[in-house]
Symmetry: D2
Subunit: 295 residues, 4 copies
């Protein structure tokens, strides 16, 4: 997906504008076509506000059509044919292209139940989710009435659109769509940052297998060079951070028990704010540790 | 196994004494027969010292016979016929009666390699071990020479005998054969012991499946009514303690994120001193925790 | 003060009983004289209950006489002549015999104000207090009406009597009048209890000088041989515990900065439950520490 | 002291260059006069290197004259007449203009002893020191021989000069003469940064009175808007950070004991690296806290 500046969008022909932003809302270029009349935009937030406004002012038939323009979840992974490239990438980001059979069955079952009840597909901004949290979300929404779910669907569509727009358009402002997950290892045995610690971030799953999200080595400041998750929403879900500490201390000649009391330290936690900055540090000696939700 | 007092043993006929203690050393009643001449014993440590002395003064042929009187490890689980009841119970204590196929293969392979090299069975005091630590022990001992391994075998036989004697004889003193693993949960959100927390102790395994060692609920003092492991050696190995903290805080009306930042907290650690007192406490709020090796 | 057993009190002559317990309530032997009729007592709690009952059933004139039988606070330290030995020891326990001029002035001022308003002396169970907390208590009580203060005075008199009775009578039960303050130092640099750490407990004061309550050295288990405060109420007030940690680590060859980052660690806290068990541990490396209210 | 750019210095007349830098070394403009010949300088480090080089190549008589051009410590506060403005400001930075009598006596005594032994004044870079650490430094240096102290004096003169140069000249590079002391308060009761906490930094003193270095209130991120000490060396010495936590928790409706278990938390620590970044955070609930040397 190539990026475009807001200045260029403001200056572009109407058709170029629509070509650039036509898929910010899935299969619904009419929104970009309507928003183009509001140019120029002082920022990407103003542009997004205009597009949302078009949706909110549209007839309820048109909003329903927008909802129905979205694919079924997971099912998409089967019939990738009809998916936009954006939808495909989004679904893959949550691991929906790598479901176990049990997970796939669970997704299909709740999706079908949702469609059967409401007559439109279950829509969720998958970049904000893990497999577990999607199942949790749909189970929570299933008992709702149709009006509530139309509202919920539009809200999710706005989240999807905001993320697409953030990726597509560069401007002096940014939409508040991204979060960050970071860590920091302090060696309180030696009173300094712990450099060279192997860190693994694992996404846990109720139904399927745990999945390695990323691996990193702490730098001289005890941090990872890049956030564990950054420049995107931190998906809602359960995680485990694993720190290989016994090798670190052994290499520094610190006397350890055999086997070492602490070897690989797991920190298990959940993410509840995908757009927030979540910092999970570790203060560690060979004989104990402290962790907390930092910021 | 019925218990007997040291006073009764001091007063018993020689044959009753030997009947009571004949199997402290596997299939080797001659040791009790020799030790009986040293009566009376002022304590169980003195009794055990006399029995050890008999072994140490015996000819090397006799010591080798003692070694060969012991069963092969794990193999026993197959041919339980020839095992003493003590040996059987000991091996079961380490889970050797519930090995996965991969574990059983690993045990058989190293056992056979050991017997092939040295001409006598691999002996280890299994009550001090987990499946993992036995495999680690035999792999460390395999490169030794025969004299070293005869010494190591006798040392393990003494550990086995000490544990049997400790279970069998009550006296005013006790042999230092038992350790303890305990925990304590402090709620530093409310400044008091955390009562009613579900705690699970898991034995981890490289080859096979994790195994629940015990489950408990913390009492009003934040402790478990009995030690997690007590009145026996704490088996060498890797463990995970799991504390269900989100339910505890939720039941007390503490505001939590959704899902809660901390739900089930895992503490992973290794045991290196089976006869020691290992205390693994948890200081916890809904947003962070501290653990350390206490005493 | 010599102790007496409850059994002996149950069997004693009426006059011996009254002689033994006549001063449990200050200058008011009539309470013991009335309670003697209720013998025998199954426990010291029953005995105390009977004595309280006599006070509660007495006429309000008699209760006022009981109140007025008590000395003025602090003033007593000046005119020790008329004080019972018990009153004298109690007041000294709070340091009322060692007031600075500023403190003495403050005590005299509030005492006089209290007596001027209510017509009877300000009574408080001084063994449960520090100098600061007494001033705080009287300032909180001064705005009350007389009926409230008569009730408050009787409640304090019961606390004084319970403590005297606890010191005087041994029985199979005990009155819940004593608390405990303890500490524990864990060296999380080396993973073991910190032995040989010098610990100081200081009582802080708003008006006067800080006062050393006790000094101790941690034993092999990282604890002090006796509680810092024990077998008595822990006086309400502000305290500082000081731990000399740099010498401890230096003696063990741990590399430290020059000067050491942590030398004498102060933990400042308040006591709010004199009859409770307050545990204030320290988990420490040369580079950081953790403390918390334990139990 | 007005600042000048390195570019301007490179382009200035020789006399303007010397006028600007003549007092970088106390009363010793000859160093600037010699360094001017090395122009142009690519950075302030190169400029400083050239000035140091002039000193190192000078005759030992000249270096001794440089040493003797420096004032006596503290004495200066008395006879401020002969002090350069720089010297005066430096000495005031360590509080040498506000010594108690006991401190002044101690300073005079060691200064006189130093001058009597070596025949030149005791020189130290006071911006890197507190009153205590100066006394400690001079007592450590007094036993040295004269050659060692000439070397030590030149090293301190270089530190003084580097700090003056850093204040005086702006360039693309900076001399590594400044450190930083910072803090961060995490509320682990609520899982977020603690905003609005009053923080005090106190310099402790063996001989004299404690001195408030700075006061601040934590911001929304739990930090202070500016470092507690920054853009200068962090003076060697002992400090106490004080955090008023009970008001913070009370204002948020957190149930506390009466009086609150923790009210003002003191963290006492020493600074050993004036040019380093020292971070002293506090993780706190109403019932416990953790601190450590961070970075």
């Amino acid at each position: 997906m190539s990026q475009v500046t807001l200045a260029d969008l403001n200056a572009a022909s109407q058709s170029d504008f629509v070509a650039a932003l036509g898929n910010v809302f899935e299969h619904s270029a009419w929104i970009a076509e309507a928003a183009v009349m509001r140019r120029p935009f002082g920022g990407v937030a103003a542009l997004f506000g205009a597009m949302k406004d078009m949706v909110e002012r549209a007839s309820s038939e048109r909003r329903m059509a927008l909802i129905k323009a979205h694919p079924d979840l997971a099912d998409k992974t089967q019939r990738a044919a009809g998916l936009t490239a954006d939808s495909n990438a989004e679904q893959n980001s949550a691991g929906l292209d790598r479901l176990t059979d049990a997970e796939y069955d669970a997704f299909e079952r709740v999706n079908n139940a949702y469609r059967a009840k409401f007559g439109f597909p279950y829509i969720v901004c998958v970049r904000r989710h893990t497999r577990d949290s999607i199942l949790r979300d749909v189970e929570r929404r299933l008992p709702n009435d149709a009006a509530t779910e139309m509202g919920a669907s539009i809200a999710e569509i706005f989240r999807i659109a905001a993320l697409r727009l953030d990726q597509l358009v560069t401007a002096s402002d940014r939409l508040p769509v991204n979060g960050r997950l970071s860590t920091h290892v302090l060696d309180t045995h030696n009173g300094k940052p712990a450099a060279g610690i192997a860190v693994e971030l694992i996404e846990l799953s109720e139904l399927g297998e745990a999945r390695v999200v990323t691996r990193a080595i702490t730098n001289a400041d005890g941090r990872t060079d890049r956030p564990l998750i950054g420049n995107r929403p931190v998906p809602l879900g359960r995680y485990e951070l694993r720190f290989s500490v016994s090798r670190y201390f052994a290499e520094r000649g610190v006397p350890l028990s055999d086997p070492p009391f602490l070897d690989q330290i797991p920190l298990r936690f959940s993410v509840s704010e995908p757009e927030g900055h979540l910092h999970v540090p570790l203060l560690v000696t060979p004989w104990g540790y402290t962790t907390y939700r930092g910021s």
